[in-house]
Each structure stands twice: as structure tokens, then as C-alpha cells.
């Protein structure tokens, strides 16, 4: 790609970007959210047309009007948000868009052949997928494999992976990296879009860093993470969470014997006992889907518990409404920001009072006080460094990191006894991660009990003073963050002693 420029209105999303991908190489495209990585790749995949510049494939100039042209030229893409039909089977999804038909143009679908194609591709590249499974029943990692197989059945030479690890567990990430490595060995080129430095260093042959629509450099994976981070953000950032040793006080939250079922009636929290003390961060580590979500929802009154008790400073929270739990002094950063955290059509100011709108000074039972809401919004925007053109912009126009800062600002803007932060930095850029981590530690230092749930082990280790490892609805152990990563990783996989158990 040469001199690619793409403008949206007055905004230059890509400013004369040059990038070359060699055959058989894993080329990482590194940059913060909104740096223009996805925009660049969407042009390569024909979803957007560049305003300037040209795309050359094997030295030949090409114009891609649609993804169909790109696929024809041997370019495939796996999007961050999967483009799969949940109620179709794997084979049907893979055939979709390139259906094999028997018996003329009005013939029937050749399901047998598409099944065979799927099996063949999956075997050839070592990507196990079950062609008959319904996509909606598959875990995220498997859905992603389906997407990759789908791209590979189109016979592509270049595969674009847009933030593929954002939704994966550590194990799934490792599997994916292995798959990428083996694909590269068969001569396929891979463009790997990400903002996670560890993965880049682990897999990439070359790294191109993009900042604010420009390439700031192409480097090798030998570059240190700190240097890469500085290139990405444009200033020095610290990736380590700096904090003083905790000074834990009394027990604030006490969970005992908690049993919770998920929507299908499966027992996903199976007798959890937990205690969080004031002035400490308790981290819950665990692979996504081991009951952490339901545990937090039960504490927050968003989900009914079957048995057990949740006690906040002597007050039983079981059976309380979410409003009562929040009013009791609990702050909550939900794991799914765009679904549960913010109302995207609401302004920043409105989102900042989403759970305080009917209390003084922002309003009462009947009316809102727009002046107070505005004033406080201006303060919070400054205090939490929320990058927005105005407190009256809708939150949907903000980047992921800034949306998360809105949530964090809201939850920390009132006196708290307990702060629950689920996946506090998922989909958040490096600069904002640093900021949010510091805010969480600050909250701890003023004496709040903090419960952090994260599927990123790095994050849990960095933030927590004690780590509870959750596996299949139970807390397997509470360990110190100084414990070697490998051992925590084993615990996350359900291995308590040396002997290996049957894991996934």
C-alpha cells in the first residue's frame, strides 16, 4: 500500500501511509484505539476506498470496490466483531457468500460439499472446527476459528486479523498465535492488528506503529515493550502499575456459600466464599466464563442467587435491588461497557449521572437539575481526563478508552465502601489503561475495598494485593501476586496440584 490517505469530513484518518507485507510474514499493525489501523485495513479489504494512494498486490495495481474484489485478489479479513450468523451451522456460515449450488442457478445448496471443504481446510491448517455445530453454541475462540477457516476456504494469500485477541482467553490467545505461526510457515502473509504489546513481541516478524493516522515507524520485535508503547502513545508510559503495599483494614465485603445459576439454569457460581478488606485490591483471575460474571451480577443485585449471603459492612445485600446496592456505597464498573456501562445516545454529562440522576444535587424524585449536572460533568471531564469536545457530546462519539473513563469517573465520584471493576481496561488504549489503573489504586489508597475481575492475568497481577483464582464456579485458591505466573496460569486451568487434571 502506497501513500494511502483517507479522510472522513475534516478528519484525516490515514495520512499517506505506506506499508509492505512480504509473503509468509506476520506483520503487526500496532496503534492505539482510533489510530487508524482498522480504517487502513478496511481499505485493503475493499470496505472503504482510499482518497489518495494505491494498493499493489504482487506488484500489480488494484482497485477494490468491495470485499469481493479483495477476496478475488487473495485478501481475507477476520473482523473484530465476528460476521457470523448465530443460528447457522459452521459449514453454512462458511459457505455463506460463496454457496456451492447443485442443479443450475435455481438448484439446491450443496451442503455435503461445503461440509467437506470445511473439514479439509480445518485439517490442512490444524484449526479444529465442527462443521455441524451451531455457531451460537460455540465459545468465542471457536467462533474465531470459524472466521479464520472461512477466510482460508476462499484461498487467500493475505489474512487480516483485526484485534483478534481482544475477546480471547489467555489459552485461546496462545492457540491463535500458534495457528498464525503455522499459517505463516505455509507461506501465507498475516496482518495482525492489535494494541497488545506482549502478543506483538511474541509473534510478529515486523511491526508497523501507527499514531493519529501516520506511520511513526517500522521496527522489529526486538524493540522493548516500553519503547513500543512510547511509539504508540507518543510519550513515555509506564506499563507497570506503581503502588505502595496495601494497608488492609476491616472486612468490607463478605461473600459466603454463594450459589448462582445462569440464564439456562446451570449452576455457574458454586459455593463461593470471599472477603474483601478495606484498603486492598482483591483480584479475581480466571478464564472468562468460569462464573466471574455471574458472581459480580449476584453481588450487584442484577441476578438472583440460589443460596448464600453477601454482606457489606454488616448489611445483608442479598435480595436487594441494584439501586439499593449502589446506594449502600458500592461502585460498579461493568464488564461490557457498551452494553451495560454507558448509554451511547446519551451525552457525557448524562452518562456521568446515570445512577445519581434522582439524588441531590443532580435532581430529586421529580426533576433533574441540569445546571448541577453540567457543572459536575465539567469537573469530572477535567479530573478524569475524558477527551471529548464537550460534555454534551454523545458518549458514542468517544473512543473506547474515554467511554471507560466516563464509567470510572461516574462510579468513583461518590463516596464508596466497595468498588467492583469487571474487565476495567478491556478494549481500552494503553494511555487510558495507565490512567484507569492509577485511579483504581487511588481508590484503594483512600480506604475503599476493591474487587477487580479480569481475564487478563497481567492486569490482575499488576493491580491485586491478593488474587483469588476462579475455576468452574469455585474459588480454587487465594494466592499472592508474587506467585509465578505459570502457577497462577495452571490454577486458572483448574490444576491445583502437580498432577494434571482433564482440562480444555
Amino acid at each position: 500500500m502506497r501513500g494511502i490517505t483517507k479522510r472522513f469530513g475534516d478528519l484525516v484518518a490515514n495520512d499517506h501511509i505506506d506499508i509492505t507485507v512480504e509473503p509468509g510474514e506476520v506483520h503487526a499493525l500496532l496503534g492505539e484505539n482510533g489510530a487508524g489501523k482498522s480504517t487502513l485495513m478496511n481499505q485493503l479489504y475493499g470496505l472503504l476506498q482510499p482518497d489518495e494512494g494505491e494498493i499493489l498486490v504482487d506488484g500489480e495495481k488494484k482497485v477494490f470496490r468491495s470485499p469481493r474484489d479483495a477476496i478475488a485478489a487473495g485478501i481475507g479479513m477476520v473482523h473484530q466483531h465476528f460476521m457470523l450468523v448465530p443460528v447457522f451451522t459452521v459449514a453454512e456460515n462458511i459457505a455463506l457468500g460463496a454457496e456451492e449450488v447443485r442443479g443450475g442457478p435455481l438448484g439446491w445448496l450443496d451442503r455435503r460439499r461445503s461440509r467437506r471443504d470445511v473439514l479439509e481446510t480445518s485439517k490442512r491448517y490444524g484449526l479444529p472446527v465442527d462443521p455441524d455445530a451451531l455457531v451460537e453454541n460455540l465459545p468465542v475462540g471457536a467462533q474465531q476459528r470459524v472466521e479464520i477457516v472461512k477466510a482460508l476456504t476462499r484461498d487467500v494469500d493475505l489474512l487480516i486479523l483485526d484485534e483478534p485477541t481482544a475477546v480471547l482467553t489467555p489459552q485461546e490467545t496462545d492457540e491463535l498465535l500458534a495457528v498464525m505461526r503455522s499459517l505463516a510457515e505455509t507461506g501465507k502473509s498475516i496482518v495482525f492488528i492489535t494494541h497488545k504489546l506482549r502478543e506483538v513481541k511474541a509473534i510478529a516478524d515486523r511491526i508497523t506503529v501507527i499514531r493519529r493516522g501516520r506511520t511513526v515507524g517500522t521496527t522489529s520485535p526486538d524493540t522493548s515493550t516500553d519503547e513500543l508503547a512510547a511509539l504508540m502513545v507518543g510519550r513515555d508510559v509506564s506499563l507497570e502499575v506503581t503502588k505502595t503495599p496495601a494497608d488492609p483494614g476491616r472486612e468490607v465485603l463478605e461473600v459466603s456459600g454463594l450459589i448462582v445459576e445462569d440464564d439456562r439454569g446451570v449452576r455457574v457460581v458454586d459455593g463461593v466464599d470471599l472477603a474483601v478488606r478495606s484498603g486492598e485490591v482483591l483480584g479475581i483471575a480466571g478464564v472468562q466464563g468460569n462464573g466471574q460474571t455471574e458472581l459480580v451480577e449476584a453481588i450487584m443485585g442484577l441476578r438472583e442467587s440460589r443460596a448464600g449471603s453477601v454482606v457489606l459492612e454488616g448489611q445483608n445485600l442479598a435480595g436487594r435491588t441494584t439501586k439499593q446496592v449502589l446506594r449502600a456505597g458500592v461502585g460498579y464498573v461493568p464488564e461490557d461497557r457498551s452494553l451495560d456501562g454507558v448509554v451511547k445516545d446519551f451525552t457525557v454529562a448524562e452518562n456521568l449521572v446515570l445512577d445519581l440522576y434522582d439524588r441531590a444535587p443532580f435532581g430529586n424524585r421529580f426533576s433533574l437539575n441540569p445546571k448541577a449536572i453540567d457543572e459536575s460533568a465539567r469537573e469530572r471531564v477535567d479530573q478524569f481526563d475524558i477527551r471529548t469536545s464537550s460534555p454534551h457530546s454523545t458518549v458514542g462519539t468517544l473512543s473506547g478508552g474515554n467511554q471507560q473513563k466516563v464509567v470510572v469517573a461516574r462510579e468513583m465520584s461518590r463516596p464508596l465502601k466497595l468498588l467492583i471493576a469487571s474487565q476495567p481496561t478491556r478494549g481500552v488504549d494503553v494511555g487510558s489503561i495507565e490512567f484507569i489503573h492509577n485511579q483504581i489504586i487511588h481508590e484503594r489508597d483512600v480506604g475503599t475495598a476493591v474487587l477487580v475481575v479480569s481475564s487478563e492475568l497481567d492486569e490482575v497481577v499488576g493491580l491485586a494485593d491478593r488474587i483469588a483464582v476462579m475455576y468452574r464456579g469455585r474459588i480454587l485458591a487465594v494466592v499472592s501476586p508474587d506467585m509465578p505466573r505459570e502457577e497462577i496460569g495452571l490454577l486458572m486451568a483448574g490444576v491445583v496440584t502437580q498432577e494434571a487434571e482433564d482440562t480444555e
Binding site: G34, K323, L326, R327, F366, L368, S389, N402
Partner: protein, 420 residues
């Protein structure tokens, strides 16, 4: 732009001013809702013109020799269309001749104001039913039940109007309140079902529409309700103490339109400035986030349907106390369903709904004159209304026809915050 230093300053200023004008024009020609709405109306009138010509056999006949004498066909079409639309205007807003006569002293003010009076008379109940649909929609509910709620509002207000004797003024307030409570009850039921059982409000409100209409049909034949002097399905006449005060005959416009404006202001406050409005807007666009922030989604649905029902019920009450003065099977006309279209046209905004209702009233009032004067059927007005709604519902079509820019790129500043 010049590069010489001394001239730089004024040039820059000029450029700024120019860019402001440019920005204004840019925004004008971008696909914002006002522009799309106006263009939709324009397109509807254009297609309506074709339909007027086609539906007139005499004018259509002139087209049979179009190739030999095209002027005949064109003049005849132009005359017909311009007269029809002139009537639409005269019937809806004012007739210049009548206004002239009023100033001369040869006519009276009533004739001059009659068109506006008709427009507002038709508009008043639509404001309420439109607001009912609009506010429900803001909370994420599709209230198809405006019709049923309005019918029940008619019934309770009408019965309160003839069955009890109270002094003037108080009687009116009681009758209006009765309509409001009746509609609120009819809205409460689907709200409760939605909150408790998840029953979809579209299904339940449609069913309650039938129930309400059939109930009205049964009720007006009962002893004590049916007019003793009549054999057909007509109720007793509402006491004058319960009627909405109107301007002197033949003007029909009544206090209902004033009430409509006040209620619009109230709903605008409720949606934008009240705690409940905050809840309903949050629940409307993102129920999970509202729940996570501690709001009770179910309770909001119930409250919202009660408010929506109350508004539609008030619309029914205004209809029966202001215009109809007795209950018949068709007393509510189509005001509930028209409310859906009015809300759509008003983009579910309170003041937008008010203006949309007035536009609808105007089309209806003007259509009456058009039918009497040039013989264009009143159904054409329905077609016009339908066309406007179709174009509004398909903004992409309007944008494509007029080559409008996308409003998103034209809206400066918001995308800047995303910081690529």
C-alpha cells in the same frame, strides 16, 4: 489566500465569515431531519399533483391529443393542480378573499378565521394521541394502542359528561380527568403485562384496541347511555357544563388546542427535564445499562404506558367534549392510528409532534374544501399523508433524490472527539 503578511489578517477574517456561510449552506443541504421532512412534503405534493390529474377525466381527455396540441393538456393540468392546492391552502390556513372582505368590512372575522379554526379542531386530539405514541417510543415501547386508549378516554369522559351533574368548569375538569384516567387504565394493562410477563406491547395493545371499540359499541346501546329519543347507536348528549369552551359558531375551534399546547410543553419537560424522563430515555435506548445503573426497567415500562395511555385518553376526551358532544360508534374516528403517523412525522419529539398534528389537521381541513370545490376526493389527502409518511420513513430515498450529504459528516465537531 494571499501570502503577504499585512493582508493576511483581513483575508483570514473574510475566510472565516465565508466558511460560516458555507457551513450554514452545507448544513442546510445536508440530510438533517427538518430538511428531509420539508422535502418529503414537497415530494408528496408532487406525486399528489400527478394523481390529481389522473383522477380527473376531463383533464385526462386533453392528454389524448397531447401531441397535436400539448398546450391544452398542460394548461388544463396546471389549472386543476393549482386550484386544488390553492384550495388546500385556503381551507387549511386562510382565504385571501375572505381576509380582504373582513378588512373591507364586507365580511366578518369568523369567515376569515374559519380555515384555521378547522385545522386546529382536527389537530387537537391528534396532538394528544401523537404525544402518546411519541413518549412511549422514546422509552422503547411501540404503543399501537393509542386508538383503544383514546376510545376508552372518549367513553369515560363522555359518560362523566352526561351522567353526572356538576357546575360548569368543575364538570369539565372532572370529565377530562375521567378521560385521562380511563386511558391510563387502558395503558396500564399492557404495561403491566410487559413488565411482569414480557408480553409484547404491540400484540397486547392491538388486542385492547378491539376490546375498547367493541366495548364502546356495546355500551352506547345500554339503557341510561343510549339517547332515549333515538333508536340508533347514539348516546345522550353531553351536558354543556362539561363541554370545552369554543369560539362562537360557526367556528369550531375549542379550548382543546390550548390544552394540547400546554400538554406538549408538559411532555417536553417530562421527557427532557424530569427524573422519570431520564429513566425512560435510558431504558428506551439501552435497557441493560439502565438496569445496571439501578433503574427498574419493568417499573419504567408500567409508568410509561400509564402516561402514554393517559395522553391518548385525554385526546379521546378532547374529541368528545370539544367536537363530538356525544358518543357514537365512530366517535374516536381514527385519531389513535393517525397519532402513530403524527408521532413519526414529528420524529417522536414533543414539539415536532405538535407541529405534525397541526399539519395533519391542515391537510384534513384543506382536503374538505378541495373536495367541495374542485371535486378532488378527500381520499387524496389520505394518499398525501401516506406519501409524506413513506418519504419520512425512507430518508435514504429523499437523500438520493435530492443528492443530500450525509448529516453525519456535516455535523462538525462530534467526530473530532473520536480522535483518530
Amino acid at each position: 489566500m494571499t501570502t503577504e503578511a499585512p493582508e493576511k489578517q483581513p483575508a483570514k477574517k473574510e475566510e472565516q465569515e465565508e466558511s460560516f456561510v458555507k457551513l450554514f449552506l452545507h448544513n442546510l443541504w445536508s440530510a438533517n431531519t427538518v430538511v428531509v421532512t420539508i422535502l418529503s412534503i414537497f415530494l408528496a405534493l408532487l406525486i399528489g399533483a400527478v394523481l390529481i390529474v389522473i383522477s380527473d377525466s376531463e383533464v385526462l381527455a386533453t392528454f389524448s391529443y397531447f401531441t397535436s396540441r400539448p398546450s391544452d393538456a398542460l394548461t388544463a393540468s396546471w389549472d386543476l393542480i393549482s386550484q386544488a392546492y390553492a384550495d388546500l391552502f385556503k381551507g387549511a390556513i386562510f382565504d385571501p378573499a375572505a381576509v380582504q372582505a373582513w378588512f373591507d368590512g364586507s365580511g366578518d372575522w369568523k369567515t376569515a378565521l374559519n380555515p384555521l379554526s378547522e385545522t386546529l379542531t382536527y389537530a387537537a386530539p391528534l396532538v394528544f394521541t401523537g404525544l402518546s405514541v411519541a413518549i412511549a417510543f422514546r422509552g422503547g415501547l411501540f404503543n399501537i394502542g393509542g386508538q383503544g386508549q383514546a376510545v376508552i378516554g372518549c367513553v369515560t369522559a363522555g359518560v362523566a359528561g352526561f351522567a353526572i351533574g356538576l357546575p360548569a368548569g368543575l364538570h369539565l375538569v372532572v370529565a377530562l380527568a375521567a378521560g385521562l384516567i380511563g386511558g391510563a387504565l387502558w395503558g396500564f394493562l399492557p404495561g403491566l403485562l410487559k413488565a411482569r410477563t414480557g408480553a409484547h406491547e404491540v400484540i397486547t395493545t392491538i388486542m385492547l384496541n378491539y376490546t375498547a371499540t367493541l366495548f364502546l359499541g356495546w355500551l352506547i346501546l345500554q339503557n341510561g347511555v343510549q339517547d332515549p329519543d333515538r333508536t340508533d347507536a347514539v348516546s345522550k348528549t353531553i351536558e354543556s357544563t362539561a363541554g370545552l369552551p369554543a369560539l362562537p359558531q360557526p367556528l369550531r375551534v375549542h379550548l382543546g388546542i390550548v390544552l394540547a399546547v400546554l400538554v406538549t410543553a408538559g411532555v417536553a419537560w417530562l421527557v427532557n427535564r424530569s427524573s422519570f424522563g431520564f429513566e425512560l430515555r435510558a431504558v428506551g435506548v439501552n435497557p441493560p445499562a439502565a438496569r445496571t445503573a439501578g433503574m427498574s426497567v419493568g417499573r419504567t415500562y408500567i409508568k410509561l404506558m400509564v402516561v402514554a395511555g393517559a395522553l391518548a385518553g385525554l385526546g379521546g376526551a378532547v374529541q368528545v367534549l370539544g367536537t363530538a358532544d356525544r358518543l357514537t360508534g365512530q366517535v374516536a374516528g381514527n385519531i389513535g392510528f393517525d397519532g402513530l403517523l403524527v408521532a413519526l412525522l414529528g420524529r417522536n419529539k414533543p414539539w415536532g409532534t405538535l407541529f405534525a398534528a397541526i399539519l395533519y389537521g391542515g391537510l384534513r381541513a384543506g382536503g374538505n374544501l378541495m373536495q367541495v370545490d374542485v371535486g378532488v376526493s378527500l381520499e387524496l389527502v389520505t394518499v398525501l399523508q401516506a406519501l409524506i409518511v413513506i418519504f419520512i420513513a425512507a430518508p435514504a430515498l429523499v437523500k438520493a433524490i435530492f443528492q443530500l450529504r450525509d448529516a453525519r459528516t456535516a455535523r462538525l465537531g462530534t467526530s473530532m472527539a473520536k480522535g483518530w
